[in-house]
Symmetry: C2
Subunit: 411 residues, 2 copies
């Protein structure tokens, strides 16, 4: 059974960060399957492009054009509010009170680990934006008195990946502790995190916010711990070039697979950091939008704790991906030194039974990769700015003694 056909009842859904890489195709998908969609976004991601003098490889259109075209093509209206949910709480609350959504999908955070590490200003922006954004969402849910289901996008990267060969579970860990009396008692705790960047740390702090508001105010929350998203388009964004999704390839926002594809397409060497021995979890953007839909349709009840799902479909070693892309394109691989403070090689075992059990039929790299090379990377290669390809953020101050090599990931 395909997730798209399982739609049961139309809901009113606010998508926070609906102008972004995941948020835009999710908004269109949810609108397409019959939900009423409202986007809130402060366009900070486009402003960061200005700051970094970088640009999406694909020619993304302004929000006004995007929504007009979608209306023409689908007959469906998506409302848009340009609001900063971290800084404009009163306006944000008013939107919630006026629109009375059934669901809020929360993508609206600064999501690049390298960007979060560029300077003390970037670290501080990431903490301030992400903490206040998430907390304002929770506050507004409580203050509105409405019964809203929150779906948040987290990352599997909070775990620092693959400690001690453990299978990354879906959110919780069963432990045994010893009491004063010497008895062993079972407890379930949030799976301990090991964030490798300020960005990842905000996701780890988000988890505490969710746990608290779920416990104290009985908020219904689903937290999707996503792998690295690859691909560009979905069924909906493919319908008109003006609906095209963003494709980041710069050293800060470009994630590993999209960077490889684009490097190959423009004849740049495929740059692998270190040995490329890091294993990462991946998901195609088409599956992201389906998983969010599944999460919306399987909402928790008041008695449930925060529901945490791993949102990924396959794991690969970075150098294997590079070789795959190299075979497909004839591009040559260059091994460069790693700007990150991370372990050179790691395994990764992820549990993702939940989404599979709910009917997800994943798009695999084997199927999607060639299409991506031909229809996106090669097609828009002329728009690439080669100077933006190298990664420039460094992780720690070199003069500090004893800084250990730690595990870290992109997203």
């Amino acid at each position: 059974m395909n997730a798209d056909n399982r739609h049961l009842e139309s809901k009113k859904i606010i998508v926070l960060g609906g102008d972004g890489f995941c948020g835009w195709p999710t908004s269109l998908h949810l609108s397409n399957v019959g939900h009423e969609v409202i986007i809130i976004d402060n366009l900070s991601r486009r402003n960061i492009d200005n700051e970094l003098e970088a640009e999406s490889l694909t020619p993304i259109q302004p929000m006004g054009t995007r929504l007009k075209v979608w209306k023409e093509i689908s007959g469906k209206e998506i409302k848009f509010y340009n609001t900063d949910i971290a800084l404009e709480y009163d306006h944000f609350l008013k939107i919630i009170n006026d629109e009375k959504p059934d669901v809020i999908v929360h993508f609206a955070e600064q999501r690049s680990a390298p960007y979060s590490m560029k300077s003390s200003k970037n670290k501080r922006y990431t903490i301030n934006n992400n903490m206040n954004a998430t907390h304002n969402v929770l506050c507004a849910m409580v203050e509105s008195g409405l019964d809203i289901h929150l779906v948040h996008l987290g990352t599997m990267g909070v775990y620092g990946y693959g400690t001690a060969g453990m299978k990354i579970p879906e959110g919780y860990l069963d432990i045994e502790v010893e009491t004063e009396a010497g008895e062993r008692v079972k407890q379930q705790i949030l799976y301990p995190t090991n964030p490798g960047s300020v960005y990842h740390m905000t996701k780890s702090q988000d988890q505490l916010l969710f746990q608290y508001y779920n416990k104290n105010d009985r908020l219904r929350i689903t937290d999707l711990h996503q792998g690295i998203v690859w691909g560009t388009n979905t069924k909906e964004t493919r319908q008109d070039e003006r609906l095209i999704n963003r494709f980041d390839y710069d050293g800060d926002y470009g994630t590993v697979l999209n960077r490889f594809l684009m490097q190959a397409a423009v004849g740049h060497p495929i740059t692998v950091h270190g040995t490329g021995g890091q294993t990462r979890a991946f998901i195609h953007i088409q599956d992201t939008v389906r998983c969010v839909q599944l999460a919306i349709e399987n909402s928790p009840s008041y008695e449930d704790k925060v529901m945490i799902f791993n949102q990924m479909t396959e794991t690969h070693r970075v150098r294997d991906l590079a070789m795959l892309v190299s075979e497909l394109t004839g591009g040559e691989i260059a091994y460069v030194s790693n700007p990150r403070n991370e372990a050179p090689e790691n395994d990764l075992h992820v549990r993702n039974d939940l989404f599979l059990s709910k009917g997800l039929e994943p798009i695999t790299l084997d199927e999607g990769l060639l299409q991506e090379v031909t229809n996106v990377a090669r097609k828009y290669a002329h728009r690439a700015d080669h100077s933006k390809i190298p990664a420039t953020s460094t992780w720690t101050k070199d003069q500090l003694p004893g800084v250990p090599k730690e595990k870290i990931t992109d997203i």
Copy 2:
């Protein structure tokens, strides 16, 4: 051996929040034993008094007077900067770069659980102030490139107190996890928290910040998980009435024992919430300042993880304290319904071996209580505003279904 006499080398110490209840006597104590002390405070606590139309029972003097008198009495100079460390990062960094401290003691957070729960504005202020304050401290330490030891004040309340009869350890928990291969592997994790208010949650988030910056930038950090502080004066603040410390008795900032003392002194019934079966950990303000000194003198090295100590000296059930105060003063006890979302009765087992092993000789309730009643509560009873005595914050929106009774504490 008394902690006061163990002073080895003079350090330059910045006290963040040095105008507050703990920060002021700590600043004087550190100055007195020979350290060079610099206070940073934005006076937000005095401004909150204005907002709540409440006042310290004791007549605290403005910072200018406090420092002038200290200079007269001790011959020692304490510098003061009125700066908001959460909002004025550039100024804060400049102070660090100019002063080049060896140690930063960080008291500068919004510290009342009831205040943090009063309204959505208060929740948001607490998150924004505490997250940015702590993160700015860490950022400035990294950006300055100086080798600074951070001593932070946390609270034992992050654990929600006494889950499953466990002894509250000093920060970490050893667990065993199962790997993919079915082996059992030992790991040490941050002791899982169970915060009962937005205030407590910020302390739990602080822990993640410390763990991250310790790991990534090798910052040297001591986190003191403090119990409820009681008492008013220390050796130094007693030297002149104009050096007197604050004594909060209002429903938001007054902590349990000080509220009892003051109620008894003014002839108000000693109000116990619920059955008074909650067990809490306590420490006298004189011991707080000594523990901070001990923490400064026992600084971690680069290789150490964040050092976490429990800073408390005895535990008591709330109703036993009420009875103690009642016996001492003849005051009558009134049991009122509990405005908090917490368990009615709990045990508490706390590990505090570390401070005891380092030479702390605690002041016990038996010794200090009568003095406090006579020299503070009775002496300043005429300054009390009786209308400020009841606690008014409530913890959850009643209309939300299924809200459970959870464990919570004052500080």
